[in-house]
C-alpha cells in the first residue's frame, strides 16, 4: 500500500492477541493512528499531484511530524482554536477539516477550504475553528495570542493552540506574542515544533541555546519539552498545558522535538543533512510506532486493515473530488477582498 506499512511478516493471527490495554484506550490510539495515517497519505498524494504539476506554488509537507498535530489537537475540545504556520495541512486535518477541502485547496479549486484563493499555506476552516495557515514566519504568534485574548475577554473557556517551527523563535513576532500572552495570562499553548532545521539551517546555527523551551523562563511562563515519538504522550503532555490554559488562564511554551522527512518544501532536496540522519529518525516514526503498539496490544490486524482501507478510500475520494472540482470564478476576487462593496 505504501512505505509506511511495516514490512515485517505480521500476519493476522488465527485467534486475536489478548488485549494488554483497556479497549477504550486501544480504540483511542487507533483513532489517533487513523488521523496520522490519513495526514501522511494525503500528503503523499499531494506530493504526487505536485510532481504532476497539478498543485502549484509551495508545498511544505508535514511528513514525519504528524504526531505533533494529531496528539496536541486530541487534547482540545471542538470549540478550541488552532493557529499555525504554512506547514499546515496536517494540523488542519487533525483539527477536523474535511480532506476534500484540503486537497481541493491544493488544486486551487473553488471547493477548497479557502475557495482556491489560499493554497497550501493558507488552510482555514471556520467550522472546525482552524484559523489558518499563515506564511510570514512568526507573524501569526501575536494573532494567536489575540484569539486567546478574545477567549479571556468573553470568558468562554476556550483555549488556543499556536504552532510554529524552531525557525520562528528568533523573530520579533514570537517574542512579542509570547510576552503579551504571559503578561495578560492568556489561555494559550505555544507549541514549537522543533524539527531541527529552519529551512536548511540547523538550530545550532540559528539560536544561542539548544533548548527552545528555555525562552519561557524570561517571560515567567510554564514550559515543557519532549519528543513526539508517541502520539499518546504528546496528547497527555499538551493536555496538561491545555488544562493550565483552560482552568488557570495561564500560557505554556512547549517544545516538541520532531523531524520532517521531506525537504523544507518540495523544491528543497535537503542536501544539508545526511541520509543516515534521516534514516535514524525514520526508525522513530510515530505512525509506525502507533501501529506496532496496536498490533502488540491486541487491536487486531483485521480491524487495522479495515481502518487502513478506510484511509485509502478517503484519500482517493479527496483526490478525485479535487480533480473533478471547478476552478474558482473571477467574481470571487472582489467579494473576498472586502466584506461589502469593494473599496477602491
Amino acid at each position: 500500500m505504501n512505505i509506511l506499512m511495516p514490512s515485517t511478516d505480521q500476519k493476522a493471527p488465527e485467534s486475536p492477541v489478548p488485549l494488554t490495554r483497556p479497549s477504550a484506550e486501544l480504540d483511542h490510539l487507533a483513532d489517533l493512528y487513523q488521523r496520522m495515517l490519513l495526514i501522511r497519505r494525503l500528503e503523499e498524494e499531494a506530493a504526487r499531484a505536485y510532481a504532476k504539476g497539478k498543485v502549484g506554488g509551495f508545498l511544505h509537507l508535514y511528513i514525519g511530524q504528524e504526531a505533533v498535530g494529531v496528539g496536541a489537537i486530541a487534547a482540545l475540545k471542538p470549540e478550541d482554536y488552532v493557529v499555525t504556520t504554512y506547514r499546515d495541512h496536517g494540523i488542519a486535518i487533525a483539527k477536523g477539516m474535511n480532506p476534500r477541502a484540503m486537497m481541493a485547496e491544493l488544486y486551487g479549486k473553488a471547493t477548497g477550504c479557502s475557495g482556491g484563493l489560499g493554497g497550501s499555506m493558507h488552510m482555514f476552516d471556520a467550522k472546525s475553528r482552524m484559523l489558518g495557515g499563515h506564511a510570514i514566519v512568526g507573524g501569526h504568534i501575536p494573532l494567536a495570542a489575540g484569539v486567546a485574548f478574545a477567549s479571556k475577554y468573553r470568558a468562554d473557556g476556550t483555549v488556543t493552540l499556536c504552532f510554529f517551527g524552531d525557525g520562528a523563535v528568533s523573530i520579533a513576532g514570537f517574542h512579542e506574542g509570547v510576552s503579551l500572552a504571559a503578561l495578560w495570562k492568556l489561555p494559550i499553548v505555544f507549541i514549537c515544533e522543533n524539527n531541527e532545521y529552519s529551512m536548511g539551517t540547523p538550530l545550532s546555527r540559528t539560536m544561542s541555546i539548544e533548548d527552545v523551551s528555555m525562552k519561557a523562563l524570561g517571560y515567567g511562563m510554564d514550559r515543557d519539552r519532549f519528543f513526539a515519538d508517541d502520539v499518546l504522550s504528546v496528547e497527555h503532555r499538551i493536555g496538561e498545558a491545555v488544562a493550565r490554559a483552560r482552568d488557570l488562564s495561564l500560557p505554556t511554551l512547549v517544545e516538541i522535538r520532531t523531524y520532517r522527512y521531506r525537504g523544507h518544501s518540495m523544491s528543497d532536496p535537503a542536501k544539508y543533512r545526511t541520509q543516515a540522519e534521516l534514516e535514524e529518525h525514520k526508525k522513530r516514526d510515530p505512525i509506525m510506532r502507533a501501529r506496532t503498539e496496536l498490533v502488540r496490544d491486541g487491536y487486531g490486524e483485521a480491524r487495522l486493515k479495515t481502518l487502513e482501507d478506510g484511509v485509502e478510500a478517503q484519500v482517493a475520494d479527496a483526490v478525485k473530488f479535487a480533480e473533478e472540482s471547478p476552478e474558482p470564478d473571477v467574481s470571487v476576487l472582489e467579494k473576498t477582498t472586502y466584506d461589502g462593496p469593494f473599496a477602491a
Binding site: 475557495g115 482555514f124 499563515h134 501575536p142 489575540g146 485574548f149 477582498t337 473599496a343
Partner: protein, 339 residues
Amino acid sequence: MARVIRFRDALREAMIEEMVRDDRVFLMGEEVGYYQGAYKVSEGMLDKFGPQRVIDTPIAEGGFAGIGVGAAMVGLRPIIEFMTWNFSAIAFDQILNGAAKIRQMSGGQFNCPIVFRGPNASAVQVGSQHSQAMEHFYATVPGLKVIAPAFPADAKGMLKAAIRDDNPVLVMESETLYSIKGEVPDGDVVVPLGKAEIIRRGTACTLVSYSRMTHVTVEAAAALEKEGISVEIVDLRSLRPLDEDTIVHSVRKTHHCVVVHEGWPYGGVGAEVADRVQRLAFDWLDAPILRVTTFDTPMPYNAKLEQLCMPQAGRVVSAVKRAIARGRAAQNPSSSAQA
C-alpha cells in the same frame, strides 16, 4: 443641536458611544488607560470602562496589533491606538499580511473588523522618524480602508462608521489637529466612509486635500480669493475608498486640479488622484494636474527647514496660479509665457 468641541473630544465621544453600544468593542494601545492617552484622546475612558476594555500595552506594536487582528477574527471589534502612525511600521506585517488578507486567505470565511488609529504625518520639529505620512503606504493595500478626516464632526461620525465596519479601517489623525474646534452634531450621527465633501465652492481650480492639509488649502483659498481667484476645495475625508466621482465632477467644472497632501511626491495618494483625474476628466483639463507635497527628503528637525519642506499655503497659492496660467497659455499660446 450641535456643540462646538475639539477634534480629540469628538474621537473620544465616538469611541465611548460605540463601546456603550457594543461590548465587543475595546480600546488597546500604549498609554491609553492610566496615562489617559498620550494625546488625551482616551481621557477618562479607563474610569468609564475599566481595564478589561481600555487596555494599556507595553511598547510592542507588532504584538498588540497582532492581538487585535486575532481578536477581530473571532468576533471582537478592537480599536488599536498607535501613539503615532510612525510606530505602525513595526506592525506593518500585522496590518499588511494579517488584517488586510485574513478575509481573502480564508476564502471569505473570516473577517477582520478592526480599527487602527492615531496621529499621522508631521507634528512640530519631531524629526524624520516621527514625521511621516504613513497613509500612502496603507492606501495602496487592497483589503484595507483608510480615512483622514479634517474636522471634528467627520472625526466623530467617521470613526463611528469605522468601528461598525466589518473590514479593517485605518484612521489617520493629526497631532496638530487634536485641539482644533468644530461643530459636532448631537446624537448617533454616522458619516459613511468613501464620501468626499466639497467644503468650498469655486470656479477656477479644484484643490483636493485631506486631514491637516485641508486646513492649509482653506488658508490658500482665502489668499487666492483676495486676488480674485475662486477655487473649489474637495476634502477627501476617505482615501480608500476614494470618492472619484466628486473629484472628477469638480475638475470638469474648474478644468484645473491641484492635489495637496503631506508625504513624499513619489507615488502615493496624490499620484492616485492625478491618475484618476487624467483618465476620467482628460478632455476637461486645461493644465497638467499639480501636486503640493512634502519635499522628497526625510523631514529635517530645523524649524525653518521643516516649514519649508511641508506644504504651506504659499506653495498651494503658487501651484494654483501656475496651473491657471498654464491653462490660459494653452488656450492662447501667443499671449503668455509657459507655466
